[in-house]
Amino acid sequence: MGDPPSDPDPPSGPPDSRRRSSQVSRRRRSRELQPTFSEEAEAEQIPLDAGILQRSQEYLGSQSNLQGWSPGAALTQQDNLMFQAEEAQLGGIEYPSLSMGLPIQPQPYLEEGGIQATRTASLMLQQLQQGQGNLFQQLESAYQGAGPDFPGLFSMYQGDDLQFGHDAPHGPYLRDDPALQVSLSELGFTPFTVEVPEPEPRELAVQNAKAYLLQTSVNCSLSLYEHLVNLLTKILNQRPEDPLSILESLNRTTQWEWFHPKLDTTRDDPEMQPTYEMADRQRALFVRSSGGEGEQEMEEEVADSPVPNVMESAFYFEQAGVGLGSDESFRIFLALKQLVEQQPIHTCRFWGKILGLRRSYLVAEVEFREGEEEAEEEEVEEPAEGGETPDSPGEEEGEEDEEKAVDVVPKPQWKPPPVIPKEESRSGANKYWYFVCNEPGGPWTRLPPVTPIQIVQARRIRKFFTGHLDAPVVSFPPFPGTEANYLRAQIARISAATQVSPLGFYQFGEEEGDEEEEGGAGRDSYEENPDFEGIPVLELVDSMANWVHHTQHILPQGRCTWVNPLQRTEEEEELGEEEEKAEGMEEVEQEVGPPLLTPLSEDAGSLRTSTWAGATSTARRTSTPRCRRPRSRSSPAARRSWR
């Protein structure tokens, strides 16, 4: 470790007092220990062990003080040399830093040979005990790179040594020494064996100690040694007043900082990251929109794109006091464009925004191109088939039991109500597919088709949306599904109830069959009326009869077209024939709902007049064109928070 020698320049004055006070505390501590080993050792030989030197050299990097201290045998001589050299400097140098600790002190006693292992051990223990001090000083010297620390140390302890030196070595009193905090067992050997001192056990002991300190905790990758290094570096860097009293909080802070690394730059940076990410994602939206492949494509897009003109409809809604703000509307427009590019979409519409507790949902209503959605449907149908099997095994087991035992627990008669099949896609409640994303720029997720049971249950519960599609819906009565299903069910209900258009805008297409042949199902398709001339705004506002629903009403069953749940398929009839006849068939009435294109004035419940009083006043002042928006909602309510 060929570190360059440091300049023996004493550091400046003012910090000294602080350091001195801390040094004093350390001195006091070291003093406590001094008598102990001074008693023991006739010759206070606490040589700078090779191990310690090794340690210091390894851990510290540049150790000006330790220059020339090579691990090895020539220790004592070097120490002596150092000591002598520094003695000369003792006088004029202030004591600038903390002491290195006891190990350095007993230089004068190095003449004595034969260091007992016990003493070595004790010293090492004390060194460990003062490991902080040792490291501290070493760190300190690393930090300052100042040579004179060293002689300063010597100067302080010099006097002490002279006082206490030359005592006869007493027996090992280590165990009774309260100052000793490190248990001997951890060192891996007993200190009481009197051995011929050899460098190997010392090295071994030191290495054991070091290994112990470097152990990483079970919970984290931080070892005690590293933590102490961090702590002391921090203290040395910050130089707080009276660090001993705030040692615990410094300790905690250091530990915290290890796991929450703070960059040295402006402290707000970590806070900005979530907004940065959001902005990044949204930037992607803008970049895509502008990166066209030439003007031709642009023209095509304008003419034939399924992407709706969100800005235009937002403008109209804004006149009525409903809207998301122009910035957000534009972003939604870009996000819809992105969706159209990603999926084979025939028509697309911004359905609305549903507010959630943590995040909100932006919902897009799409219709796929013919044939494109079949591949995606297969995935959805598989889980549905798995649930139909359990009936038959149950019956067989019951019969076996009856044969075996006389007393049999009566088999429950209850059978779960038959599952009503969900509607085919492109019809009824599943007429459209819905994509959701949490914010413009986020990924679009497709919602699964809705089943009748989900709609029925969704009518009975009221839960906030959290914003996460996979969140469970904990409610009573229990909802069969996750938040994605709940969201889809509510979307279906809202769509079925609130999508309206002016009377006459849509008409039924001319069909071959009579209406009666279709039974109570009614028509489910409509087309635009080319002869529609528009209704004056005032009339639209005043009377509800001028608005009609153009989505199918959802029956209490949960579907738009009624299905008799007791109608069995052929397979089921064969299995369950006998039992059914025993129980008796239940008559189920066909459920009928208002047919398509029913005016709002026919709606049951309290008549809701339009709250477009504001719009009326606006209409008077600014002549808005005739209402061309076929799918405007009757109320702003449908578009906003559905909690």
Binding site: D268, L600, R608, S617, T618, S635, A637
Partner: protein, 307 residues
């Protein structure tokens, strides 16, 4: 929201889907100025809007120098002519708690509620059906009061209390940093404190008497009343959900606000508290798919990043 920063605040509150049409915005700006002059308010806040069947009520509140003093509430149907509402009393609240359903939109409308009252005449007890007339204005007053008590929220540090008692706007408040804005503990209820005196001395020792003189949001029971949400624009929306069973089914309020602006505050990140009351009827049939009266109060304050 403060009348002075009305447009900006409306812009921030737009994430909820509620907004004002341009003509309303323009008329609000003008009329609130006049209200401030006529009633000699220190600050005028646009509280929000309550939707009714026939018309909407636009509500404004005026504050005097002492921010915690009872506020005067005004309402208007067209954002131009404002009428003062009487202060709410407990009787009013109790009386109007029986009224359910939506607001009509006509302040003179009277709800009829039949009650069974027992009257003693000598030794006999008669039960009579008494029809009680409740005016819509009274209902309006009590609804506004209840919403205020439940969800009026203000960020910590926006107001400070002087030793003499009055509460003032803190002119040096620059807003909350983003991390602070996401914590419930940085917000207080903007009403007379109720829980403060129940705190132990130990807890009170940590409080700063000039700033922490209101109930904090984090000790609210039941928890989960107020949710903070970071908007894509960087605004933090606070939504308080509160179910009021006694009025329309599913009347839910969301969170609330106050407006503060420090001098020269850089509005990097602005938080919007808004409230929205929505109701769902729970029926899928087109008939009863009706939203209940919605009170929309939009307010903002600007927590700015400290530079």
């Amino acid at each position: 929201m403060d009348a002075e920063s009305l447009l900006l605040s409306l812009e921030l509150a737009s994430g909820s889907g509620q907004g004002l049409s341009p003509d309303r915005r323009a008329s609000l700006l003008t009329s609130l100025m006049l209200v401030k002059r006529d009633y000699r308010f220190d600050r005028v806040l646009f509280w929000g809007r309550i939707l009714g069947l026939v018309g909407d009520y636009y509500i404004a509140q005026g504050l005097s120098e002492d921010q915690l003093a009872p506020r005067k509430t005004l309402y208007s149907l067209n954002c131009m002519e404002w009428s003062l509402l009487p202060p709410a009393t407990e009787e009013m609240v109790a009386q109007t708690s029986v009224v359910k359903g939506r607001f009509m939109g006509d302040p003179s409308h009277e709800y009829e509620h039949t009650e069974v009252q027992k009257t003693n005449e000598g030794e006999k007890v008669f039960e009579e059906d008494v029809v009680v007339q409740i005016k819509e204005e009274t209902r309006l007053v009590s609804v506004i009061d209840q919403i205020d008590k439940a969800v009026a929220v203000i960020p910590r540090g926006a107001l400070f209390k002087t030793p003499f008692g009055p509460v003032h706007v803190n002119r040096t408040f620059e807003g909350l940093s983003l991390s602070e804005a996401k914590k419930l503990s940085s917000y207080f209820h903007f009403r007379e404190p109720v829980q403060l005196k129940n705190k132990t001395l130990l807890e009170k020792a940590d409080l700063d008497p000039s700033l922490d003189f209101l109930d904090s949001l984090e000790h609210d029971i039941p928890k989960g009343l107020i949710h903070l949400q970071a908007e894509a624009s960087g605004a933090v929306e606070e939504k308080a959900k509160w179910q009021r069973g006694q009025t329309a089914p599913g009347l839910q309020d969301t969170g609330d606000y106050s407006s503060n602006r420090g001098p020269g505050a850089c509005r990097w990140r602005e938080a919007t508290l808004w409230w929205c009351c929505a109701a769902c009827s729970g029926q899928a049939s087109p008939s009863s798919m009706l939203p209940a009266p919605r009170t929309v109060a939009i307010s903002t304050w600007e927590p700015a990043r400290r530079t």
